[in-house]
Amino acid sequence: MIHELLPPAGKTLISIGKWRLLADHRTLMVTIFLLALTLVSIVLSISLGSAKLTSWHVLQTLLGQGDRVSELTVFKVRLPRTIAVLVAGCALGLSGCLIQSLVRNRLATPDMVGVNEGAMLAIIFFTLYITLGQWPWWAAPLGALATAVLLFGLCRNPGEQGYLFVVVGIGVTEMLSAAGEFLMSTESIVHISSVYMWSMGNFSGQGYLTAVPVASILLCLLPIVIYLSRSLDVMRLGTITASNLGVHIVRVQGGVLFIAIMIAALGTAIGGPIAFIAMAAPIIASYLVGHRTLPLWCAALLGAVFLLLSDTLARVLAQPYEISTGVITRILGGIFLLFLLLNDKGKVD
């Protein structure tokens, strides 16, 4: 007698040939919901701006049914920037989720420990002294990796739940962003205005030139993230239990950290050091999936949604002027961080 193989509660067994994969219902539902939300945010981001388009108009144009003017607005102006924001948002959300779960601390995100500022400093240095005007997006991973090495040199190990990491990281963040500002202050403001705007987190003028190579590298890193995600999920039980369950801790930690830093740096290369997306997106994603799984993909999508909406707000709020997107995320993210810390106070006291 053949019994049908019963999967664990709340999961679906997917059999493809010899493969047997498990999918969590709730995580799947949330992912689909967030995918839809991302599409809505994309359409909103393209419709809203100084020249008004209706969402219906945008959809028509995207499907090749628009007039010349709306085609120009959508394909030449809005869509490139929207794609740049989308890629940066995904990168920030994903890298935040990777590092948070690795260090087991919600405050340990690339923007809090100075990785993004390291990427920023490298880009400022290269654009001012070496590439002279050409956008050196590829310098971002170098700066971010150098920062990570510095951080590990100072900390030796992340400490219990990464608190040492976070505290030292806050100091490193300040140092690096001061160094970036120092470099920029040695040049006349006319020459560096675009770099300066970028360093505040700004997507104006960003398009396919940076977003396409960054997105391609991210896609190449994706299979490694997918491979490591299973081990990283077991590491939610702590390193001792995970190693008892056959996870090669050093290998997984090294791999995840390297990839998370690369992804964060590439995200930063597009729109500058955007704060708080990498922290808020994974926390809310984890809440949405009921903490049942490691919400890597949900965090990436939510990062994209948050950044798309922030960028749209930045363009719309003070028309015809534009606020830096980084300023919007800092305002919204600051409120979220305060809420988080005050909420945690009860547990810490």
């Binding site: 193989l5 019963l6 999967p7 664990p8 509660a9 067994l13 010899k18 493969w19 047997r20 994969l21 498990l22 491979y227 299973r230 077991v234 939610r236 039980l237 702590g238 001792i240 239990t241 190693s243 008892n244 369950l245 056959g246 996870v247 090669h248 009921g290 903490h291 049942r292």
Partner: protein, 265 residues
């Protein structure tokens, strides 16, 4: 036959010798208790066996093969280790925990199979987890949670099980419950090495007791032969009387007061 063997193991931590040339053997299918005062090295011994730490010199053999020659995954199929205070993350249910126990037997492309289902079901039944299988681990009482962790260890389906003070944070009822579970796991033919504070429980449940002090083996043998008044004095610098339980003649340790006639403060 010995499934676990330590040959001349030395280990030091922060320039302090914890073990110096220690040799030990653990017989197959036995429940072995490791006892001794705080800081005697009993947890360190368990961590060495679980490969959480590496010895400075000497070697450890698991089923005749050197411990360091196992891959992480193949070792996880031979030895299951439950640390003293495992982390119970938010949102994980008992069933998910049991599922995690199957991790060393699975791969990315084979995340669930018949053996996994059978092992999880067997662990659920043996440890009586059916009533709260779908409840989050973080919501359970200490005793229930410890049983769930033992369930994960059981689902891991290894021949060797290492437990670090599994009863230390529990009240007396849950202590008995968890010890009965452990004794049942050992009766399935597994080799269980248990670090335990409670001498009486060690004497009652274990086939063999190893007593450590300052990293040296003070006594090693059957529970009855090891747990004596002289040994307790030797281990803990305390004089005790040993009585025998009416139910099963297991030794019960009753410490003597130092100043019997002094007034309580």
């Amino acid at each position: 036959m010995a499934v676990l063997k330590l040959n001349n193991i030395s280990f030091s931590y922060r320039q302090q010798h914890i073990f110096n040339q220690v040799s030990l053997q653990f017989g197959a299918g036995k429940l072995i208790g490791i006892v001794g005062p705080n800081g005697c090295g009993k947890s360190t011994l368990l961590k060495l066996l679980a490969r959480q730490i590496q010895p400075d010199t000497g070697d450890i053999l698991v089923k005749g093969k050197a411990l360091h020659r196992y891959s992480t995954k193949s070792l996880a199929c031979e030895i299951a280790f439950l640390p003293q205070n495992p982390i119970s993350p938010l949102g994980i249910t008992v069933e998910q925990l049991l599922q995690y126990g199957r991790h060393p037997h699975q791969s990315w492309f084979n995340q669930w199979g018949k053996e996994d289902r059978d092992s999880v079901d067997a662990a659920t039944q043996l440890l009586g987890l059916a009533d709260y299988l779908h409840r989050p681990l973080a919501e359970l009482s200490g005793g229930q949670r410890q049983r769930a962790w033992l369930g994960m260890i059981l689902a891991q389906d290894t021949d060797i099980v290492l437990l670090d003070e599994p009863t230390s944070a529990l009240d007396i009822g849950h202590q008995v419950e968890v010890m009965e579970c452990i004794s049942h796991i050992a009766s399935m033919g597994k080799t269980v090495v248990l670090v335990i504070h409670d001498l009486a429980a060690a004497a009652r449940y274990c086939n063999e007791v190893i007593a450590l002090r300052d990293g040296a083996i003070v006594a090693n043998g059957t529970a009855k032969s090891v747990v004596t008044e002289t040994l307790v004095a030797q281990l803990f610098d305390t004089h005790v009387d040993i009585l025998y339980a009416p139910q099963d003649d297991a030794p019960v340790i009753v410490p003597r007061r130092k100043y019997l006639h002094s007034e309580p403060m």
